[in-house]
Symmetry: C2
Subunit: 460 residues, 2 copies
């Protein structure tokens, strides 16, 4: 094989710097998850196909990566199916497993499967990759990590309150200040649809409303008309188009619209509860904002809906989202388990931190000192010193291929430079005799001859 090898489209290799930066984000999120009492679980990369199929709609089914059965997998196909040469009949016969598409369905499966070992309410977090056979494009990958925290088994709105706090805590810990946590409630959307006589057009209605920012009031109304939403319904929406002021003002407008809808009023109460608790608790650096156009996975959520956007001035889609779903585990036969959860968008958070230069310098600092030795005996002395440095928690390396000429010496200095190693120690005949080490600071070229004790001090 002489062609340079490559990786499948939509996948990525990560080098040391990228791994370090990604770990920094994940560890920061993990730390906050744990402070809030969430417990980690992990599920297998692939599930039985029946666990995943049919849970994400037709489009989702198509985007699920299926794993080919092992062995003589064609034997399981009947002649009739085989002769049809049709994917829909053949796929289920030759593939019984599929790669995880998100963390929510495996979590639901986990809860049902392990219900007798779990104490409810169950607060779990999960940080693992998922796979989607989506068309790859800028910022969209076929393999990417999800970072989820969910609670199942509690209907208390304090859960929602804690999730708002958790978002604030994570982004504050990442020094990403000024994010907006947008909140809405599915019950408000249902209430509006009810009031304007478009219960059966909830999706059309929210899709149109969602475009308000981009296309303006008139175009939104036009779209609603074209979807068959009645003119007097659209008229009732008028206050929605000019929602402004703080949370309280906006809630007042909503109350006037929703005065005749029971479900709508419940939605408003829930919103107010969360907002009032957060006002008392105070957020550190984020702000909470009502966004009535927020719909996210409408068919899924039943109560609060969350979405987080990057600080103003950073062009980036949502960097987090979530909400409450009243029947998470019902698909696997366990009824009455209300769940609520949030998710962090690792890849987008990465891009935002990069753009705003918010990664701490320390996380990409790898090796602190490289030993260069001028012969085998010198290398042996170096490795003894390196061992002691490591015992003092100093990241140290030895360049073990003996230096025979000036040219090779230069190669080793270049190596230290390119690897961003701040210190080099030279061990030659002279140092060996005097039991010393020549420490060179790469940034300045400064060089001193030190005994081990002082070398340790200089590097600590």
């Amino acid at each position: 094989m002489s062609k340079k090898p490559s990786i499948p489209k939509g996948t990525r290799d990560f080098n040391a710097e990228e791994v370090a930066k990604r770990s920094y984000i994940m560890e920061t999120i993990k730390e906050q998850f744990q402070l809030y009492g969430f417990q980690p679980i992990e599920t297998p990369s692939f599930e039985n196909s029946e666990t995943l199929m049919g849970k994400y709609g037709d489009e989702g089914d198509r985007l699920i990566f299926k794993i080919l059965n092992s062995g003589e997998y064609l034997k399981k196909i009947s002649d009739e199916d085989y002769n049809s040469k049709s994917e829909s009949s053949i796929t289920p016969k030759i593939s019984e497993k599929a790669l995880r598409y998100d963390l929510t369905v495996p979590f639901a499966r986990y809860v049902v499967q392990h219900q007798n070992e779990i104490e409810f309410p169950f607060k779990r977090y999960q940080i693992q990759p998922v796979w989607r056979a989506d068309r790859p494009q800028k910022g969209r990958f076929r393999e990417f990590y999800q970072c989820d925290a969910d609670v199942v088994g509690s209907k208390s709105l304090f859960q929602e309150v804690e999730f708002v706090q958790l978002y604030d805590a994570v982004f504050t810990a990442l020094k990403l200040e000024g994010v907006t946590i947008k909140i809405n409630n599915r019950k408000i959307l249902s209430g509006i649809a009810e009031v304007i006589g478009a219960q059966d057009k909830l999706i059309d209605f929210t899709v149109a409303l969602d475009k308000l920012d981009k296309i303006g009031e008139e175009k939104v109304k036009e779209e609603m008309r074209s979807k068959g939403i009645p003119e007097d319904g659209i008229a009732k929406l008028q206050p929605l188009f000019s929602l402004s002021g703080d949370f309280g003002d906006q809630v007042e407008s909503l109350e006037s619209i929703l005065s005749t809808s029971e479900i709508g009023k419940t939605g408003i109460e829930e919103l107010e509860f969360i907002n009032s608790a957060i006002s008392k608790l105070k957020l550190k650096t984020a702000k909470l904002q009502l966004d009535v156009t927020l719909a996210r996975g409408l068919n899924y959520y039943t109560g609060a809906i969350f979405e987080v956007s990057a600080p103003e001035g950073v062009k980036m889609g949502s960097i987090g989202g979530g909400g409450r779903y009243d029947d998470l585990t019902g698909i696997f036969g366990l009824k009455d388990m209300s769940g609520v959860g949030i998710s962090f968008g690792l890849d987008r958070i990465y891009l935002v931190l990069e753009e705003l230069n918010l990664f701490p310098d320390t996380i990409t600092e790898a090796t602190k000192v490289l030993f260069i030795s001028f012969g085998e005996e010198e290398a042996m002395a170096s490795i003894q010193a390196v061992s002691k440095l490591r015992e003092s928690n100093i990241k140290a390396e030895i360049y073990p291929d003996a230096v025979a000429s000036g040219k090779q010496m230069k190669k080793q200095m270049t190596y230290a430079n390119r690897r961003n190693i701040p210190f080099v120690v030279l061990v030659g005949e002279e140092e060996l005799k005097s039991n010393t080490y020549s420490l060179k600071k790469m940034a300045t070229g400064e060089q001193q001859k030190l005994e081990f004790r002082d070398l340790l001090k200089a590097l600590e």
Copy 2:
């Protein structure tokens, strides 16, 4: 769906305790990898099939999980191939990607693909899952983690020396004292085969020799005879069967056997170099032992071969292994890149630490304190206190569903007990009035009423 859901055979769910214990092992390994100057990389879970196929032998090819192409994947099959209904013609047409089978081949692919961005010698570590369609059995899984460290681009034997140190450092850090690092050298095995006139029977010879411990000298000789190794060759092996004494004694016996083999003598020199360096550097808790029967992936290694076994008295296969391979990247067209690396067996190390009770208690300590509140107002006060505790890095939770009756109170105490939460704080009407918190120590039942300041102190 009313059937309780399950996961594919050979895969596992991990609960919070298992995740914590596994993380502890992986973090400990990672820390040492970094101290030794290894840099992390990550590669995609699936590779192009051509990257993996043919790299692990026929058996390996069969055990690789293949991913079904998306969309109308049957269209790519010619009528002729389709009518053959044969897996060997159809699989390559309907599957272009496959799950990672180990970390070594993806690493080789990475090195070749990114050779212009890499500084050599390149010391990388990688801790990621791999997948094999093996028959699942006790301790063998279809999804499991590998933890590898490798250096490419250096032929120095100091690399081998450092890997012995690294094994010692990791197992010492895990408090797993007394492991045996067995070492051999492929060149010694080649030398022996040469001396006894069985160059072409190197594998038969080592397979037989490997059984010495289990079946004894006579049976080993019998097996060698049955494989066609000549009688006078077997006679020359006599000193091998009674290898004893320390490293030096054993090397002496080997020298007498291998006096006529150039490659054999080189192997002995390499062994002696490593052993002498380690004698000077001293291991902390492990011991280095020559094992001439050690062969591990014979066709792969070209120099040193390593294997680590658990401390005496623990029945467990090897918990680590590795060696030098002179042409790692040749399969992808990059010649002359000598590599050497080691691997840690996460699952087995886990079982050993469990058996010897070596996991620190602290790692499974999750939430420290649970707040139980007796009404909405009390819950609000609780959540304010909980927020402050978290800011002081105390893992705190609130049980937010208001307590209405004695029965529910009991439920919440049971929850704290089962979750192993050491402290509970009760916030009722009285506490709310006096701005205090009743702290209960679950182990003793002891209860005190405290102001927040003292509560914080008690929990810190």
